[in-house]
């Protein structure tokens, strides 16, 4: 049996975040309590303004909570310096953004290699980048720049970049928002595979029912609070194919 503490990658206790907009205080999170365990494939859903992106920002150490205690990978974020947060993001977290956000002047392989270079990986950098790209069926696009790739291919490269550094946790903000149905399916299957085969934990913020369908756990936020937190049976590739056949 797994040790629950060891398995907990994210622990949020009564976390609040309030933005100051001029003289007005705008609360985004109003006391979130949540545990994310290793190998979770978790979708954070909710209407616009419910605090999904803010929660991802806080878990990703991109922003600081106003109050409460947030521990990520055993680190209390409130006590971490800017440099240590950057270190944690570089070595233990992966990010997938809605707008892909690949570096436009670098090729697919170089985008993946860049993260490895930042990590200080030396001569094996290029080989490792190619391995990941091949694994995600992107080998033939390795030397193309983002502008020469479709949206789906760009997002897959973004996933390759996110997992190249062998993170424990990947945070994906609306990763399928700009993708058509086919590409969204490919991407989700790919991430599901990484979750199952490489034990990488995924947290999505999403509106997309396709993402929710693949998630094993769904946390619903409403007005900055956790409204529900449910485990469910995820969609699988075979299940999807069966559904398509029935349709």
């Amino acid at each position: 049996m797994n040790d629950p503490d060891k398995d907990t990658l994210v622990s949020a206790r009564d976390v609040t975040k309030t933005y100051q907009v001029g003289k007005v205080e705008a609360p985004a999170l109003r006391g979130i309590t949540l545990d994310v365990r290793s190998r979770d494939f978790l979708a954070v859903v909710g209407p616009s303004g419910s605090g999904k992106t803010t929660l991802l920002n806080l878990i990703g150490a991109l922003d600081s909570a106003t109050d409460g205690k947030l521990t990520v990978l055993g680190n209390d974020l409130s006590t971490m310096s800017k440099r240590h947060r950057a270190d944690m993001r570089l070595h233990s977290l992966g990010f997938v953004f809605q707008a892909y956000n690949l570096v436009p002047v670098l090729t697919a392989r170089e985008n993946v290699e860049f993260v490895l270079e930042l990590q200080g990986v030396g001569s094996e950098r290029s080989r490792r980048a190619m391995e990941i790209l091949d694994q995600l069926d992107l080998g033939e696009f390795a030397d193309r720049k983002p502008s020469e790739l479709s949206g789906g291919q760009q997002q897959r490269v973004a996933v390759a970049r996110a997992v190249a550094s062998r993170p424990k946790l990947v945070l994906a903000d609306e990763p399928t928002a700009n993708l058509d149905g086919e590409n969204a399916e490919i991407l989700l299957k790919m991430m599901q595979g990484l979750n199952e085969q490489q034990n990488i934990t995924f947290i999505f913020s999403t509106h997309d029912p396709r993402v929710v369908a693949y998630a094993r756990r769904v946390v619903r936020l409403v007005d900055g609070r956790v409204a529900s937190d449910e485990m469910k049976e995820p969609a699988s590739s075979s299940g999807t194919e069966q559904k398509e056949a029935e349709d």
């Binding site: 992106t53 991802l56 920002n57 990703g60 991109l62 922003d63 800017k82 440099r83 950057a86 270190d87 944690m88 993001r89 570089l90 070595h91 977290l93 990010f95 953004f97 809605q98 707008a99 956000n101 570096v103 436009p104 002047v105 670098l106 170089e110 290699e113 860049f114 993260v115 270079e117 930042l118 990590q119 970049r161 550094s165 903000d173 609306e174």
Partner: protein
Amino acid sequence: MKSISAKYALRSLLRHPRRSILSIVGVGVGCAIGIFASSWIGGSAEMQVRAASESGAGHLRVVPSEWPKTRENILRLGQWEQALAKVRALPGIKTTAVRARVNGLLAFGNRTAGAEVVGVDPAVEPEANRIVGKGRLQGRYLQSGDSNKVVIGKTLADRLDVELDDDLYVTLAGRDEISSAMLTIVGIIDTGSGDLDASICQVTLEDIERITGYQGPGEISILLNDYRLIASMQKKLTEALAGSNAVITWKQVNPGLAGNVEGDKVFTKVLIAIIVVVVSLGIASAQLTAVLERRHEFAILSALGMKGRHVVGLVVLEALLVGVAGAAVALLLGGSAAYYLATKGVNLATMMGEELSFENVLLDPYVYGDFGIWLIWYALAVSVIATVGASIYPAWLATKVEPADALRVI
């Protein structure tokens, strides 16, 4: 190029090729102006040093110890023959000339003129003094063994209304009393500079000793093979001549000209500083624009874990690339101009009309620019300092981008 950071920096410059090219050309042109100015001033300074030293001052001069303080020209060297032998024994010496100076009054008929009468060794003086060697000479120059003969400048001759073979009545400040002699004019020197010609009055060293009673020369003027060795040779000579004599440089002999040369150098430095500042402001503006345009990209990189020092490194690397490319442009433009200046020279006489003189120094009409390996270091240093310096603020600004901005959809 294996470094992804370097590729990123280089390709970032290529996102806006026209802006990058304009930045590079801006750096290059600014630096080229600096190169040309430095070449001109360097060549001009070298010309002035050469002119000053070859117009009688020498690169170095051995004088009586009290002379630097009093500048009295009746002072005479101690044990000058041994001193001269020691000087001539040192390597790197091109020419030495001994001289003795006395203030005097020249008279012809009812006309008089004050002059510094210089006793010289006629065998070496034309080689050591370009005023004698290059001036247009009517008659002849002094010869060894001449007695009661004098060579004067054209301005003096005009003031006194004398010609060749006229006898000048010369009154000099002697050791014990005022001494006088009749000297026959054997030569009249015309340098083209009225001021300079008014200062020329030369007799043999033996005549000066005989007329005034002061024995020996008051100076040994030394020309070196390489003027850049002035400081080290001064040190060596000072050690070799330890005693009642001092070794001074042309700057101490002719402080007016030395001040002029130093002034030119300061002007060049100020000019270069202005160029660096102007170029830096231009580059800072371009880099700031580039950073502001890429705020979202820097936020992404920061979100991925890039640290501030790496962000600074990227921006500075881009500036460095602009700086190196700017140096290449500077070498192409400024180097070509400096090469022309060094090989063809510029004839100042065509601009200024008559023979050039300054502070009793006969200047060459041609200025040849300074040219050498220093151009490469200069171009690299100026352009890299300007561009890298200019990138500091934009780089700092790039580190201030919040990584949370990365999750904001544009």
